[in-house]
Amino acid sequence: MQELTQQIRSVAKRLLQEERVDCVLGYREGTVPMRERPFFAYTPEEADQLVWTRFCVNNLANFLIGRQDRVAVVAQGCVSRNIVGLIQEKQLSREQVYVLGLHSPGMVDSAKVQAQFPNRVIHSVEEDGEELLVNGADFQERVKVRDVKRDNCYTCTHRNAVIYDEFLGEQGEETGGGNIEKVAAPWESLSLEERWQRFEETFQDCIRCYACRDVCPLCYCNQCFVDENQPQWCGKTVEETDLHTFHILRAFHCAGRCTDCGACESACPVGIKMRRLTSKLEKDIRELYNYSPGLDMESTPPLSVYRPDDPEPFSTG
């Protein structure tokens, strides 16, 4: 990881010095454990702050939306797929971005690490090969990375950047090793009543901060439906009807576009398992339309187009 950090910095400096780009969008070290932060480097000196670790849980494609300048962006598999999505949806032009492709090592779920130390305050976490060194005020322990990766990183299908102008480091294993069929859509084996109950449980702690929406590169609407007030589609309370309306409608808007990057789960301040919905979207779109989002700039996302022979299993039950 250290080597890749150095490589990102030197490429970023070169691009900035040669004025190929106006800024380099990457990650820099965070001030809390296990959360690096999105960072725009505008000068070669600032490029020295860029890092690449297993704590890069934000999807940087989100930060490209609406920019007018030329940006080089650090992109692992899912981020590159969302860049493709933004190009497909005409939110970004290919010429405007310079993609620094990477192979994702699989990012760490900080909640899983914290869960291993229930009563203790973690002060810092360092990477050490395939292990993490977890430090507190009065302890230091090791955790295996493979035990604490984010769920979406286990079932990842495209760890290498799918488009790039330069690839940094080696291309690596494409999948995360987990079986998406096994874990996706935990609803499917449940009865209708149980599904609803599971859904209610999943979102009951939601405080409607909209971090899931605001961290997501799919959610770039000028005015989100929950912010519409003439007419107002969705109430503002944290009562079930309003909570459910928000989450169900948002999920529909993401179908056929979501790359399972996990940014929403990483952002949620109350630990909601957002992927219980998004994994079902991924599976349905894959099975019904034989489509996986963010792989082909020339294709059209299935729900953006109507075809007379579109599958409609819902209409026949």
Partner: protein
């Protein structure tokens, strides 16, 4: 007032006593292992070694969704369209093991919600007056805590009725108000060594707070100078304008009022709102005085660290560090305030 002492084995008796008068809530560990506020009726559920809850307990006084009034949604009815005030809190409530910072936060908000006769929020006041605050002093502050920089601290007493200090097998019980003294009246006086042990713990907890911020230059500088400082141009850049910081915060207090109708039923309801949202300040005319992300980002810090000290002589922050911990892009309040406080804020 005289410090008292309580053996932890006797906490059940205390809970029983509290329960006869109050609905009792405390930070409890849930099935997934995270600590959250919930109703409690037995001491074995209590947690003594938590840092703090992810979301602040302000909702007990300021619920995220609160019905204020109801009305019959019929204009052709003599009783129709007339607002009827909701009843207040039915039963008094006790917040057990509330952290001193969270209790201080409610005190800070009194300066907004019930400062004088011109600002007398009946919904806030009702619950404030019907709540008992039994604090638990902080033993091991988080790296993100900076309470001692903002007129607060791990053993801070203002805003509490009782402060508990965990001495292992025993609790030091320090009554701070009449209400607190009543509750502790049947306990034995604390021996001097227990009071000394608590004082020592206070010193250690204060020393363990690693984050510090200075506010002296912010205080000295004019509002417009800070407002126009170049620092905001870069600081806001990665902000998502989501509401995490404002909703986990114990002192953020903005709301939105909505009238909702369904058939013949109508109600007026207020919900937390966030200054991070463009909609928060959007005018009917289409003008938005905080139209950009930078405007909204700046507002949150200026409000807490400049406007509130200027208007009410209180800092709108108690240093709990939740915003830094939970921010999806790790915007660190101490960094931003540190920059505001620099000689040359750019």
């Amino acid at each position: 007032m005289q410090d008292k002492i309580l053996d932890k084995s006797e906490v059940d008796a205390l809970l029983e006593r509290l329960g006869s008068e109050y609905d009792v809530y405390a930070p409890l560990r849930d099935e997934e292992g995270s600590v959250q506020w919930a109703a409690v009726d037995r001491s074995s559920d209590l947690v003594w070694d938590f840092s703090n809850t992810g979301v602040s307990p302000k909702r007990f006084v300021f619920p995220q969704t609160e019905c204020m009034m109801r009305f019959k949604n019929r204009s052709d009815d003599a009783e129709g369209m007339i607002m009827k005030q909701e009843q207040g809190l039915q039963r008094h409530q006790a917040l057990l093991n509330i952290r001193p910072c969270d209790a201080k936060a409610l005190k800070v908000l009194d300066s907004v919600y019930c400062r004088d006769e011109t600002s007398n929020d009946v919904y806030w006041r009702d619950k404030r007056e019907k709540t008992l605050y039994v604090g638990l002093a902080c033993k091991s502050p988080c790296p993100t805590c900076f309470c001692t920089s903002v007129r607060c601290g791990p053993h801070y007493e203002e805003g509490l009725d009782i402060l508990l200090v965990d001495l292992g097998e025993r609790l030091l019980v320090r009554p701070l108000t009449e209400k607190g003294a009543d509750l502790a009246s049947n306990l034995s006086d604390a021996p001097d060594e227990a009071t000394q042990q608590a004082a020592q713990q206070k010193k250690e907890a204060e020393a363990a707070i690693r984050s510090q911020v200075g506010l002296e230059n912010i205080d000295a500088r004019g509002i417009m100078e800070l407002y126009e400082a170049p620092m905001w141009d870069l600081e806001h850049e990665s902000c998502l304008n989501c509401g995490v910081c404002t909703y986990v915060c114990p002192t953020c207090h903005c709301f939105d009022i909505q009238d909702e109708t369904q058939g013949e039923h109508g109600r007026r309801v207020r919900n937390w709102d966030t200054c991070m949202s463009w909609l928060f300040t959007y005018h009917t005319s289409g003008h938005n005085p905080r139209g950009t992300k930078k405007d909204r980002f700046r507002q949150r810090f200026m409000h807490k660290f400049k406007y509130m000290p200027y208007k009410f002589d209180v800092i709108g922050c108690v240093g709990c560090g939740r915003c830094t911990q939970r921010c999806p892009v790790n915007i660190d309040v101490t960094e931003v305030v540190g920059k505001m406080n620099q000689q040359d804020p750019n």
